[in-house]
């Protein structure tokens, strides 16, 4: 295996744009479609997922030498489930209404491929610091995608943003946008726009603008590395 040449900045930033879990990797689509009918729900889901991802990445990375290769997936799932349970209880205690609205989708964070994918592809092979940066980037990317979808759907479907009315009383809501088809429309159009932007070198330009030193395409390393490659 070739040595990694990614910088800490890149560990973080690539999850935000170039490998955005929802808009590029198409992971975590289930919550992205199901609970984005309002910004509040989307944001709560994003934050809960961020917490679970960060917690499990750090824990997996710190105890990676203790986990036998043969049972690593079950070990990761157990770790993730632990953090999901914590997130579930915290949401129920702090924002009971949102907890009710999210319903089963909080428990379903356990099976979000995005989280398991980061453990398998990154946290289980990297030091704690880099695993945390990677989890933060991916989590922020997920939150951004959720809030984008949720924002479009709530503004058009309800005329509000985070519950605040935007258009006054005469607003005619686009009812379809808060129904399930609206989730598919919004996600599809966002994917279209994102792919078009990416094709024109958008992510690369953005990273250059933010002075993140990028040494090579992220797709050359990271997730593509085969799980058994280090044996």
């Amino acid at each position: 295996m070739s040595p990694r040449v990614t910088t800490p900045g890149e560990d973080f930033v690539r999850g935000v744009w170039r490998e955005n879990p929802v808009l590029v990797q198409l992971l975590g689509l289930c919550p992205a479609l199901a609970v984005t009918n309002s910004v509040a729900n989307a944001l709560a889901m994003g934050l809960a997922t961020f917490f679970v991802l960060m917690g499990s990445s750090v824990l997996v990375s710190s105890i990676k030498r203790l986990i036998p290769k043969e049972v690593r997936i079950s070990a990761y799932i157990l770790i993730i489930a632990t953090f999901v349970t914590i997130a579930d209880m915290v949401l129920a205690a702090v924002v009971p209404e949102i907890h009710k609205a999210l319903g089963a989708f909080i428990a379903l964070i356990v099976v979000n491929c995005m989280i398991l994918g980061r453990q398998e592809a990154f946290a289980s092979k990297q030091p704690v610091g880099r695993a945390a940066l990677d989890a933060a980037g991916t989590g922020v990317g997920f939150i951004i995608a959720m809030v984008m979808i949720g924002g479009i759907r709530e503004v058009l479907g309800n005329g509000t943003f985070l519950g605040a009315a935007l258009f006054g009383s005469g607003f005619e809501p686009w009812i379809v946008m808060i129904l399930p088809p609206g989730g598919f429309f919004t996600l599809g159009i966002l994917l279209l726009l994102f792919a078009g932007w990416e094709e024109r070198g958008g992510a690369e330009r953005a990273e250059r603008t933010w002075r993140v030193p990028v040494t090579r395409r992220v797709s050359d390393v990271g997730p593509v590395a085969a799980p058994g490659g280090e044996r």
């Binding site: 005329g159 258009f167 005469g170 607003f171 005619e172 686009w174 009812i175 379809v176 946008m177 129904l179 088809p181 429309f185 599809g188 279209l192």
Partner: protein, 350 residues
């Protein structure tokens, strides 16, 4: 003879070509829709003209934006999409909804699939289905046509706007307008049947252009005569509706309306003649056209009789659009010099 006269021309088949081209077909269809548009404007006044005009503008503008190239709208297909969409809207909808519908028709109905000839679903109906799902109230508020009697003893003036057409973008309307149920709604929810003569001529409530069966049949007849639409499709749609509704009406005459009412009410004529026959989204084979049309007719009857909505032409056509690839595959004709059996064998080996 100079040597230049003796050049031998080589060309691949076909050697006999009709002068038809995509723009020519499209603009002919537009021309046959003009009487329908005039009828709509007569029935629903300036509102109809505005709604149709804005729907066309939305469709053409989106086409220009997405298609690129020097003059992407010259082939007329976006104009047809806009016209057909406009004709299926109630006259009272806010104009921004008509424009949005035109944009959705072209963007989500056509360009997402790759443009003209690539789309699975009739673009105008995709736009209408989107509007129906987004604004169910505005899309089912049916203004009365010119000359209809008002409760105060007068009648609807031609020049009166039929609803909140001029509402600001994203806003609903608060303009008072006299509305009423469509014949289908009356039949379904109140048990009142409209005389068939009124349905035929078009002095009834409903979408802008779906009211006059007569004008639609005239335009469709000309298109069928020119070969620009497959006559099998409207004939099989109407036949299926007539046969099924007659049979079911005979079984339960008190609750289910009969064939004449079913044929001339709602959007059936416009759908059967102008939307089901869209060349892109209808089957290529003759047998396929019969199956496709019969399927639409059967779905229309089922949705109108037992569905939650009074009208089902739009969903019937969209559902059968989705079946077209399968119908085409199942009705492929036998290639000359082969038998059905060795075709199956060939398919099994590949």
């Amino acid at each position: 003879m100079t040597p230049a006269d003796r050049t031998l021309e080589l060309a691949a088949s076909p050697h006999l070509k009709a002068p038809d081209s995509t723009p020519r077909i499209m603009w002919t269809v537009v021309a046959t829709l003009i009487p329908v548009v005039v009828g709509a404007v007569w029935a629903f006044g300036p509102s109809a003209a505005l709604v149709i005009g804005v729907a066309v503008a939305g469709a053409v503008g989106t086409e220009r934006l997405l298609a690129g190239g020097p003059d992407p709208v010259r082939d007329g297909s976006a104009v047809i999409t806009g016209l057909l969409l406009g004709l299926t809207l109630p006259a009272g909808v806010p104009l921004w909804m008509a424009a949005l519908g035109g944009a959705v028709s072209i963007a989500l109905g056509k360009w997402v699939f790759g443009g003209l000839g690539q789309n699975v679903f009739n673009p105008a109906l995709v736009g209408r289905a989107f509007l129906q799902a987004a604004f169910p109230a505005a899309m089912t508020t049916w203004p009365l046509p010119t000359g209809a009697a008002l409760p105060d003893g007068g009648s609807v003036a031609w020049a009166a706007l039929r609803g909140p057409n001029l509402a600001l973008p994203l806003m609903g309307g608060s303009v008072d307008a006299v509305t009423g149920a469509t014949p289908l709604g009356l039949r379904k929810f109140e048990g009142v049947e409209t005389p068939v003569a009124d349905l035929f001529i078009g002095s009834i409530g409903g979408s802008v252009g779906e009211t006059s069966a007569l004008l639609i049949l005239l335009g469709g007849g000309y298109l069928a005569f020119r070969g620009y639409l497959d006559w099998r499709i409207p004939v099989s749609v109407l036949l299926a509706v007539a046969v099924l509704s007659s049979a079911l009406h005979a079984l339960r005459p008190d609750t289910l309306p009969g064939a004449p009412f079913m044929l001339f009410s709602g959007g059936l004529m416009l759908g059967a003649v102008y939307m089901a026959t869209d060349m892109v989204t209808s089957p290529v084979t003759r047998a396929g056209a019969w199956i496709y049309g019969a399927g639409i007719g059967a779905l229309v009857v089922i949705i109108r009789y037992w569905g939650g909505l009074p009208e089902g032409v739009m969903y019937a056509i969209l559902l059968m659009n989705a079946m077209v690839p399968f119908i085409d595959r199942a009705t492929q004709p036998r290639v000359f010099g082969t038998s059905r059996r060795n075709r199956r064998e060939r398919e099994a080996t590949t």
